[in-house]
């Protein structure tokens, strides 16, 4: 098994490395909106003194950490896998004795992630000197607790996106469904603004949904804003949603593969 993963890693790393110019463009594309939100909210906080207790520095640190968390927990499986189901190139992968979604596609995502992290690092350092955030509330324990939380959150997001991607077995409109899913993340994850500034109704719903685990929860963990109880609660939520997301994915995938009949078959 180890050998298989090693080989998959070599292939996928080489494949992603080949597209490094595209990757840089993707990174730029993805960076812009958090930086805009940062600029908008710090300007409001500076003008009014604070926004419901959030100071300008709170916003800067929030979005600076968000840039990292989002990079760790997000995935691109819909873009790298959806077309394989549609054009039938999945057939070749299905006859291999390994799960295409849980081995090849997963390793591909990780390779992509590590490359974007390498690209993000210098940009992040430049932004650090431009905005000069005060990270004094960050503790080593917070970071150490956030790392497994983010990795599990990545898996939650990955299984959910993979389940949506697998809907391509039935419909050609998976990209539209995924766009809707993306809007849900925007609404409930704390991507636009720290969740306490959202309308009360959205905050109440967000508590029960997995999306805050992708961003808001790990950001707060790193910034050291959570009590022990909240940390435990977050980890329990992560566990529950991991099981739910995995089960949904597994169910959709099994049904889908049964339904699958390749183009040209």
């Amino acid at each position: 098994m180890f050998l298989i993963f090693k080989r998959l890693w070599q292939v996928n790393w080489a494949e992603q490395w080949q597209y490094r110019a595209n990757l840089l463009m993707y990174l730029l594309y993805w960076l812009v909106s958090p930086i805009i939100y940062l600029a908008v909210w710090t300007s409001i906080a500076t003008a009014n003194g604070d926004v419901n207790g959030f100071t300008a520095n709170d916003f800067v640190t929030y979005y600076m950490v968000l840039l990292i968390c989002d990079q760790v927990t997000s995935n691109i499986v819909i873009h790298t896998f959806g077309y394989k189901i549609q054009d039938g190139s999945l057939s070749g992968e299905l006859i291999r004795p390994i799960h295409p979604m849980l081995t090849n596609a997963l390793v591909n995502n990780v390779a992509f992630k590590i490359l974007t992290m390498i690209g993000l690092t210098p940009i992040w350092i430049i932004l650090f000197f431009l905005f000069k955030p005060d990270f004094s509330s960050v503790t080593l324990t917070g970071i150490l607790l956030a790392i497994p939380a983010m990795m599990l959150a990545f898996l939650i997001g990955y299984f959910q996106s993979a389940a949506i991607t697998a809907l391509a077995f039935w419909t050609t409109r998976v990209y539209s469904i995924h766009e809707f899913y993306f809007a849900l993340i925007l609404l409930f994850s704390g991507q636009f603004v720290p969740l306490p500034l959202m309308p009360q109704l959205i905050q109440d719903i967000a508590q029960y949904l997995p999306f805050q685990l992708l961003l808001y929860y790990p950001i707060q963990l790193i910034l050291g804003n959570l009590s022990t109880e909240q940390i435990i609660h977050g980890y329990m939520m992560t566990g529950v949603w991991l099981v739910i997301s995995w089960s949904i994915f597994n169910w959709v995938w099994r049904k889908g593969v049964k339904k699958y009949s390749a183009v040209g078959a």
């Binding site: 110019a21 595209n22 463009m25 993707y26 730029l28 594309y29 960076l31 812009v32 909106s33 930086i35 805009i36 600029a39 908008v40 300007s43 409001i44 003008a47 009014n48 926004v51 419901n52 431009l130 905005f131 409109r173 539209s176 766009e179 809707f180 809007a183 925007l186 609404l187 636009f192 603004v193 500034l197 959202m198 309308p199």
Partner: protein, 261 residues
């Protein structure tokens, strides 16, 4: 006259193509409405926490959203589909046929693909501008409306010219096929008044990738914040950038040698 005929032929062809995908069009319109809802909600969240953003109220920001959507429609209805076709035609050499046709090649490259249903976005954008201005309570005079239209057009021409330059670069660097991503990436900065951004970001969105010239500045004209000289300058920038873009396009075209030769 010749140009108009060509344009209407392109339109007809594109309407026929989109009629083949009716269900997709409906899904796309629904998604578009969803994003409009999100944009309005995000403005509501901002203004439930503050009175003004960079000196602008919620009415002005709704109007700005309208202007932003005008530019965004240009991106999605024209620039993206035509870029895709253009990059393809450079790679496989079908650019040959475009050049051989007895019409301006820049015109053909601009209008051969049109995402027709996106035109409803234009109507939506105008509604947003009207509602926003009404909500803001600003007094608008007829000359202000005229300068707004003038500067919105010249702003859109600036963005368009930048696009022409970006795709013309493909004539020199064939592998440069994510040419337009940088334009789309910074477009989001047009949703908010450029005055709230830190200086370095304001410089980028005003001078390097001049999104603000097409969004913030026309709206400033509508509110009567620009004097006559400024209006003249921004109008001149629009004309100048179009002339430069045509020049770059022509000299790029001279370098084109077909894919197989």
């Amino acid at each position: 006259m010749h140009t108009l005929k060509l344009l209407s032929a392109f339109l007809k062809m594109n309407i026929q193509m989109s009629l083949a995908y009716r269900a997709d069009t409906i899904v796309n319109i629904l998604l578009n409405l969803m994003w409009l809802g999100w944009e309005l909600l995000s403005l509501n969240i901002i203004f439930s926490n503050t009175q003004t953003l960079g000196g602008w109220g919620i009415g002005e920001l709704i109007a700005l959203l309208g202007v932003f959507r005008l530019v965004n429609t240009l991106m999605i209805a024209l620039i993206w589909p035509n870029t895709e076709k253009f990059n393809q035609s450079i790679r496989d050499g079908s650019m040959d046929y475009t050049i051989l046709q007895p019409a301006n090649s820049m015109f053909l490259v601009t209008f051969s693909r049109i995402t027709v249903w996106r035109f409803w976005d234009l109507i939506l954008a105008i509604i947003l501008i009207v509602i926003g201005i009404n909500m803001s309570g600003d007094l608008i005079t007829a000359p202000q409306i005229l300068t707004f239209i003038l500067l919105a057009l010249s702003g859109i021409i600036v963005i368009y010219s930048l696009w022409i330059v970006l795709i013309a670069l493909t004539f020199w660097f064939t592998k440069f096929d994510n040419n337009v991503t940088i334009l789309q990436a910074l477009l989001d900065a047009g949703r908010y008044p450029a005055t709230v951004y830190p200086v370095w970001l304001r410089v980028i969105v005003t001078f390097i990738i001049p999104i603000a010239v097409a969004t913030t500045i026309p709206l400033q004209a509508l509110r009567g914040e620009l004097d006559f000289n400024q209006v003249l300058i921004f109008f001149f920038i629009g004309v100048a950038s179009f002339i430069i873009a045509s020049r770059v396009w022509k000299s790029g075209l001279k370098r084109y040698s077909g894919a197989s030769s």
